[in-house]
Subunit: 423 residues, 4 copies
């Protein structure tokens, strides 16, 4: 719920939508943006520094249009709203069949316990809430790699309850927001949180996908020596071609100054890694969930001390060495928690994709064009997103002649590339 | 026919193949490499500085195993061998039905006239040569963007005569050879041909695909100010995000020092552009065919004078101004014509794809797995190509745990990415 | 008065000094740092957001040790403390001879009026205050290009009242703090103040000295297209060699998005430039005084409106166009006003020079080694500053053999370079 | 004796000089340039691939104007002509006093033996040749760091026989030719000699002066991971600020792919280092003399085998491991030996300094302005050199107003910087 999302909300409202909104991250809300939207445009359930319980309460509130209403469309980012509905529907089905309520103690994932609690607590009052919701829903457009991954898993399992447009994999999203956005907001977050001089430092970037590429580029350009960890040999070879070293975390854990996780996977930096780090090594995550860093392991480490230097910047001191590491944003997205997220220009690319996806879902709601599957936007819309952003930067596009267009077998007006083109 | 292709030939020979070879470019043969292969490994029809007529004679010779033999597999680069066979078969079919020979004067494309002439001249002696060839052929693996485009067109038209593997679109080809290869070989060609200082110059890169990205990066890093021309708004926006200016050729034709075409299209730099350029502006092509630059227009320009400074480096002087431009490699691929092409490491990635594709086609020749269509290599083979090249560069890959692999729903051993992933 | 100066104060205190302190910039004080020092270590006269009158009051307070005391040494940054003493002494001499008090209305420089007022107001109460001060003073060590320039002017005029060590021209200061410090803190200030996406923007850097080089590098690396303005042909040629365009401000004023002054001169961006800029163009100064930008002209522009977006970020709207520009830190140093100044590592280099200079002045106070002139630190001390900072970054220096040292005629332990060496 | 020196010769000739010329490096002559000059402009004693004996014979020939003539001015590069005259004069003085001839066997430096032999062989025929020469000589202008170092040593010893202008330390020489020239010509030499892909490789740059900075930048930009070795803590810290690792050669000798010496010192890479390198590691020198690399130790290593791949590219195979390293240009300047040296634009900066220095020496030959000392060019001439090169690159300089010039106390027309300014 940043100023960029505020503009997205205003855009959707101007297009005729009635909007309810929550944040996708407990730290990322800019309270002034939320206040302005709450005053002018939409119901907002978000503030900077939510607890996890508050976060899911907000999510549940944002979805609640009262007994007769409900969302027609979801703009999702990370997939938590979609998750809540799917889990809600699942619980309602079990409850209907067996009378059994969801049991939060059935999981040891603390966050999922909260999800189950929220569903459980609402279930008796309204045992059909999520079922009604999924029936009404025309679809969701999802913003992030993580959210999209969940959608494809649900599609594969046959459990997806409504059509989904994968906005993340628009070129003008994944190759812009993830790459150029993080190239901007990673150093921004590091500077605001720690004021550390990046030049001369050894930085480890875990993962060399689009996010990792942006982070590594930013750190290298700022004068750090960057080491990449990767599981994928192709991405590893890309890192090497840029002059970056590719090693394992174990190889470098005790000599690096800055650690950044960008993997979208879990258990990347464990407490046993953190114990071996240099004093005041900085550890942060710009991938997705806070489980990229073993926050649980850190919190439960016997004798560990947490010293909050300022909000979202904690020093954790290990008892054996009395040395400590600096963890940003409690392991959550540091660019959102410690800075203001991606800058407006690149978010405009992402959100133009979102708006186009929402328009598309709504326009086709009755045609059956979109089944309960995951779709990407057609390339001509992707190119349109880019084209809309060129003028601001003073670009002059070249026009194909008819002859040239025929020669390479594309329409003069595009789309210009085959679907598999990688940019 | 460079030292890298020599190693490819030796590899294929070591795997059991009998090889006949020609070049894909009239200037790119390294004569010492050709000589070594001719002595030790294979029949070679290639030398540096072929005429077009010689070039196509070589292509025809390379395909000729005598009346009872013929190629089982083709390793193609640019698609000329594939083209010759397809045109040959077409002509043989017409000839069989109508007795009509192909008529070179039916086209005003000088090179295609030669192709038709060669087919015509062979037709009476052996009116089934190409037909026998296509019947025997198990398939082709094609290396380049241009060649692949032809293959997809033939697939779309239903005229493709045998299975084809698109090696170009392996990630470890298109995102390596095209990008990192050109980043290396463009400045190499410029330096060898002209010794020009790149720092401080204004360079125009026409096209910002993988080749253009590599060229623009190389020129920028060497200290040039780089301007990009593009038709595709997405690629244009990528250029802008790297701090490059995006303009049309017309905007900058009279102020730039170096012009590079990378489009894979035709008619990019016309003689009317060249007339307006600064004295001693350098014009070169690293895309594919020499028709990116209007060589025909230049040669036929009234009163133009060509001064060969050294082979592959010509100064063309216009009569009105008595100023001239420097054209490299007669408009053909300047990295092959003026330098030695891509370096071995990146060609090893490309050619490993080729070898794997050839093995795959041969292994599956009787199974019907490959129809008369264009295929890309499966991702696990693409990842394998990368993995084979990591050791040389001292990389340590990270291994997924079972738990992590499950979490992101990939096998521990890969492949790690969905097919649409863009790297 | 930042956290870095706090550590400098603690260091001086630990070495035995009694310290009084003020800021060198009305916006640069970090109040928490000032509070900590005031509590533990020294008398501090500084807070974030001083008025100019408060600023000079603080300077006067910091110099006032009561009737019998006074500073023995000055650590100066910008030369304002040194200026006040020199102006004070001048006024006291005039007053003694003629009984005449300084007349603030004799100047139309608003800030200098304040200086004269402060001196005038103190003069009658204690007409020998500054004279006693200069007699007691062992010397000053000065940090900045601007302050040093003043010192050399006073040396040239024969008006310098005590020895001065030019710390700014230590290599480990001018080539580190100015260059690498600004490379870090310019984007930091831009991001914190405006959240603007730097990639894709056109940025003008006025001046390509060390500060300008750092700024241009940072902006280029972040993906901006950078244009430099310069008066010095050598610096201009350096910019060109890095691929930057060199134009005049007039050439580009209406097409750029970000303007940064780094010149150390005045009247660089005038209100007539600002009127022609694009809507929401960002204008900021990281050189020295706020007169690099014509703030006076802007404030007095008929009908102009100032809208404070947040402290240190103002939008100025021109009445003719109703479009506006964003001015950072009221034209003062934006890295101090909008961010937290240079990061600690590079400030440690600068302040190690300061401490060594202070030690040197004190050690030699009775020997006559330092006359009323401006000195730079000897090279072996400059090299020592660097050597002290290598361990933190994990560097291993190579040792000369005796034979090698003799061969290039340097001592094994250094200094290694002639005085004119440029690094 | 490259095409750039050819233009220098033509310039000097056009200004009225009669010129005799030799090369400063046994491999650097471009024979076509030498031939053109020999035909049109001057007596040339130089060819590509001289032996050391031939090299010194050429030097001696270039200085020989016959019994009644002699050089008035020397344009030197590396100081060998100056050395020969100084050694000649010394020998003539000894001979005059004692009748003793120089004894080549008195030194074990093979090259110096040749120098003494040449002097000895000429001494009996003309025992005053060098004495007459030094009496006639108005002065020398010297191009290189190495040559300048010798001149300052002679000045310090009081043995300098005529005035010298140190052209190397003009900003427009040392910060351009050394830095930007090597940034261009190091990769050029590597590519032409070896075609090695630089991306992904580990490169060690010994020395981080201007030459080392240029080399490290080029290698980093081409995608290598660069490690620097340094003796000077300031230069080491500069390397670290650019994200380069600073280690000793011993730390990395067995893991790097490319080694470049840039130190201007001797005994940098010894045969004991080379033995430990990876197979086909590339070893080259772009500093000055071939003694940066222990060529003598390599040649005399028991059982070593030298395989000449092509001229200036040798593989040396060690008997123990049967692995080998690639040595470029026999340890001499690889950019001259394997490529064509620096490009014309940057050489034009250097040679404009040379021409201005020659004009200055000649103009002042009777005024006594220049004593037997080493001088640098005044800054306004240095700035003039830069100004003369701006137009070609399309730059627009900004002009100071009178008011601004006064404010920073410089003349409107320059010079703009104090002598100690480092750029």
């Amino acid at each position: 719920m940043t100023i960029q999302t505020a503009v997205l909300i205003e855009t959707l409202t101007a297009l005729g939508a009635e909007v309810r909104w929550c944040s996708c991250n407990i730290f990322s809300t800019q309270d002034h943006a939320a206040a302005a939207i709450a005053r002018d445009s939409a119901a907002v359930f978000a503030w900077k520094g939510e607890t996890l319980r508050e976060y899911w309460w907000c999510t549940e509130r944002a979805l609640d249009w009262g007994p007769t209403g409900g969302p027609d469309l979801i703009v999702d980012d990370g997939g938590d709203a979609t998750l809540l509905i799917h889990e809600g529907v699942k619980a309602e089905e079990v409850y209907e069949k067996t009378g059994q309520l969801p049991d939060p103690s059935s999981t040891d994932n603390a966050e999922f316990q909260i999800v189950l609690t929220i569903i459980r607590d609402g279930l008796k009052a309204d045992p059909k809430k999520y079922t009604r919701m999924k029936e009404r829903l025309v679809g969701v457009s999802e913003e992030t790699t993580t959210g999209v991954k969940r959608l494809y898993q649900m599609q594969a399992n046959g459990t997806l309850l409504f059509p989904a447009i994968n906005v993340n994999d628009s070129v003008t999203k994944s190759k812009f927001d993830n790459l150029y956005g993080c190239r901007h907001s990673l150093p921004d977050g590091l500077m605001r949180a720690t004021d550390v001089m990046i030049a001369g430092k050894v930085a480890v970037v875990c993962g060399y996908g689009d996010v990792g590429k942006g982070c590594a580029a930013a750190l290298k350009q700022a004068g750090a020596r960057v080491i990449v960890t990767e599981i994928d040999p192709i991405c590893a070879l890309q890192a090497l071609m840029e002059g970056l070293q590719v090693l394992t975390l174990e190889d470098v854990v005790s000599e690096a100054d800055i650690f950044v996780t960008t993997t979208g996977n879990k258990d990347i930096i464990m407490v046993n890694h953190m114990r071996k780090m240099k004093n005041n090594a900085i550890v942060c995550n710009i991938g997705h969930f806070d489980n990229e860093i073993d926050m649980l392991g850190l919190e439960n480490y016997p004798g560990v001390k947490r010293i909050t230097i300022k909000p979202q910047t904690d020093r954790w001191v290990f008892p054996e060495t009395n040395t400590g590491i600096i963890v940003l944003a409690e392991g959550r997205l540091m660019n959102l928690g410690c800075a203001t997220g991606h800058p407006s220009f690149v978010m405009s690319c992402s959100f133009t994709n979102q708006v186009i996806a929402q328009l598309e879902l709504w326009k086709e709601k009755a045609t059956g064009k979109y089944e309960k599957k995951v779709y990407v936007l057609p390339k001509h819309l992707d190119e349109k997103v880019a084209a809309l952003h060129l003028g601001k930067l003073g670009a002059n596009l070249t026009k194909l002649t008819k002859d040239q267009a025929d020669y390479i077998s594309v329409p003069i007006e595009g789309p210009y590339k085959p679907p598999h083109y990688r940019y």
